[in-house]
């Protein structure tokens, strides 16, 4: 770790895009000039008040920010411990936090003069958010999606098509999110001149992990203001689910330097980490290099990437953003895991007690809250990021519960 990291957890990455040993730019030479161009354009945009003004405009009037911070009184009562708040990012336009990042990057792509947007998607949430912003600005949109994911997320595929996107099924490899990302990278290598790759999470080559984090960090900034207003003080614990980790870093980032705030990331343990059928890169993987960055990965002894599994398609990725790998190694964030079954229980509980059907992704975070909240004092303030709504998951959940729709 370099010295400049010692005073603040928020100063990363360094200029080569490293968070400690993680991150970097592990891409083919064909992409390097463009990646350097993205970095330069983003740096320029970041310091341009006009870009900030535009971003704020769309976040307020199109996305619907700020999202509410809601006191979940019935769950709090049920747990009988900590005060549980939901950051309601599932109320954003398109139903998840993904749109925060898409608005930011589409404004950048426009500045760079790119006319064609490509993206990868797992559950389809990022694909829908990308197709949405492309429709908004009249840009050509191509979404790569694993053939297996297309089968299990049919409603989102149709939404993307309605929005004018072309959805390309990816049949290579294991036909899931990682293969969709490979295929998007292959497209990009072949179309660098006119195409912008809109990555959906805090992974990929520098500057993507830092840029996506910046766009998502509005979540934590709003929480700070809102909780100060309602409680007059900062929260004690923040909890968020982690696939690639964009909603989690979005919630955590603004609070990284407040050492007494407990930060908890919840990975998807699928059928259980010891079964090998899971998506918990930090708790069940080792560092390696994939998709442009060094990070914790699920892989075998020969460095071949393994399939991830989670009931939640959005967490079903064998890697994690490099900044999380770094925060894990230095111990600033505590990363735990929750299995499919536990997430389903939390999904049902939240629907019944709060009238909010959560996506399966934040149901993982909620499940961990159900473990810890009962043991915490009633003046303990806990915020969980409700990063997506569950409409997209009703078929999956019905299937798991043996219900035929």
């Amino acid at each position: 770790m370099t010295d400049k990291f010692s005073n603040s957890y928020k100063s990363g990455p360094d200029k080569e895009g490293h968070f400690g040993i993680f991150g970097g730019r592990y891409v083919a030479e064909t992409l390097m000039p463009l990646i350097l161009q993205v970095e330069e354009s983003y740096a320029k945009a970041k310091s341009d008040p006009e870009f900030d003004r535009e971003l704020k405009y769309y976040l307020e009037h199109y996305v619907g920010r700020p999202s509410p911070l809601y006191f979940a009184s019935r769950l709090t009562e049920f747990f009988g411990g900590a005060k549980v708040y939901f950051k309601r990012d599932e109320l954003n336009h398109t139903g998840a936090h993904k749109i925060n990042n898409c608005i930011g990057q589409i404004l950048l792509a426009r500045r760079m003069g790119k006319k064609r947007i490509i993206a990868e998607t797992g559950a389809g949430q990022h694909g829908v958010a990308t197709a949405t912003v492309c429709a908004l600005f009249g840009l050509e949109c191509v979404i790569y999606m694993g053939a297996k994911d297309i089968e299990r997320q049919a409603p989102n595929v149709f939404r993307m098509k309605l929005l004018g996107a072309e959805v390309i099924p990816v049949k290579s490899g294991t036909s899931t999110l990682k293969d969709a990302m490979n295929e998007a990278l292959r497209d990009w290598v072949s179309s660098v001149e006119n195409t912008y790759y809109l990555i959906g999470t805090v992974a990929g080559p520098h500057p993507y992990p830092a840029m996506v984090r910046d766009f998502q960090s509005i979540i934590g900034k709003e929480v700070r203001e809102q909780i100060l207003k309602t409680e007059g003080r900062l929260p004690d614990t923040l909890v968020a689910c982690i696939g690639g980790g964009s909603n989690a870093i979005g919630l955590f980032y603004d609070f990284l330097d407040e050492a007494d705030i407990n930060l908890i990331g919840v990975e998807a343990a699928g059928h259980g980490i010891n079964t090998g059928s899971h998506a918990a890169s930090l708790n069940g993987g080792v560092p390696g290099v994939l998709h442009g960055n060094r990070t914790y990965l699920l892989q075998d002894n020969d460095g071949q990437i393994l399939d991830a599994h989670s009931i939640s398609a959005g967490l079903d990725y064998p890697g994690i953003g490099p900044e999380h790998s770094w925060l894990h190694d230095i111990g600033r964030v505590n990363y735990v895991s929750v299995q499919d079954e536990e997430a389903l229980e939390a999904f049902k509980l939240c629907s019944r007690l709060e009238g909010i059907i959560p996506a399966l992704e934040p149901a993982h975070a909620l499940s961990h809250v159900s473990r810890i909240a009962p043991g915490l004092p009633d003046n303990h303030i806990l915020v969980v990021n409700m990063c997506g709504r569950g409409d997209k998951d009703v078929f999956t959940v019905a299937d798991s519960l043996g219900v035929v729709l």
Partner: protein, 278 residues
């Protein structure tokens, strides 16, 4: 102070210069379609006219490769390929051939997991002469490029159509052995570049380096190889060769009896194209 290289690549290009022709470099994926058949092909390549050999290292997520080499990887994976085995393949080859340079080509993660230091020692001891690691651009030179040069293993860099004048010197700085010009912005085995563009690009790279310049990606026929060999120091063919392997496998995945002959015959035709081009 860097260790000496094996010298095979330097000797080969010196020899070819005397002969007044370009090198022909075939690519095969290690253990495609099986370990034994792959080793048989490897051993037969020099007699079929290979001047230098690129041996592919399996990676589950080959983001710069098109369908042909992806399929080669899947076959190698089913055959149980791994990096240890690939190095032992090179050792077997070196028992019968101590002249033809071998370059391992692939992605970084399998090497990183093997352990960089241990890998470089084992690779050199096995008779590997150089490395092409697709996802290690100059920005990550400290990872493997510099340690590799220290150990006397050539680190062959890729230059591409997107490598502009500002970047070319960055790309060439720590390149050794030769420079590999990727003639198209695209994945392996996709479109082919126009010959006048390739000629201009090679000429441009040569303004900045004394190293030989090889050209690859998109060369599929003896005729295309011949055209490239007129302006470049080497022509690389990969996808078209592994395609011949694919076409000689039946539905059950078993190799046909004449798979090796058919592959080597195609390699010979490519090599003749290169030899007769000037």
């Amino acid at each position: 102070m860097n260790e000496a290289t094996t010298g095979r690549i330097e000797k080969k290009f010196k020899f070819l210069k005397k002969e007044g022709r370009a090198a022909f470099i075939p690519f095969i994926m290690a253990a495609d379609p099986t370990l034994d058949v792959s080793l048989e092909i490897l051993k037969g390549l020099p007699a079929a006219g290979a001047d230098i050999i690129e041996l592919g290292v399996l990676f589950s997520d080959p983001m710069a490769d098109g369908p042909a080499i992806q399929s080669a990887g899947l076959r190698a994976k089913s055959a149980g390929a791994n990096l240890h085995q690939t190095l032992s393949m090179v050792r077997e080859f070196r028992k019968v051939d101590d002249i033809t340079p071998i370059i391992l080509m692939g992605y970084y993660n399998p090497i990183y997991i093997y352990g960089n230091e241990k890998f470089l020692i084992d690779a050199k001891n096995s008779g590997v002469d150089g490395l092409i690691v697709v996802d290690l651009p100059p920005e990550e030179d400290k990872e493997l490029c510099l340690p590799s040069l220290e150990k006397g293993i050539h680190f062959i860099r890729l230059a591409t159509p997107t490598t502009d004048e500002n970047r070319i010197s960055t790309v060439l700085t720590n390149t050794s052995g030769f420079v590999y010009y990727v003639s198209i912005a695209g994945v392996t085995g996709s479109k082919s570049a126009r010959s006048d563009e390739v000629r201009a690009a090679v000429k441009n790279i040569k303004k900045y380096t004394e190293l030989p310049v090889a050209v690859g990606f998109g060369i599929k026929t003896p005729e295309q190889a011949a055209i490239v060999a007129r302006s470049a120091d080497a022509a690389v063919v990969g996808s078209a060769i592994v395609k011949v392997i694919e076409n000689n496998i039946d539905e059950t995945g078993a190799p046909s009896d004449n798979l090796v002959d058919n592959v080597l015959e195609f390699v010979s035709s490519l090599s003749r194209g290169v030899r007769e081009s000037r």
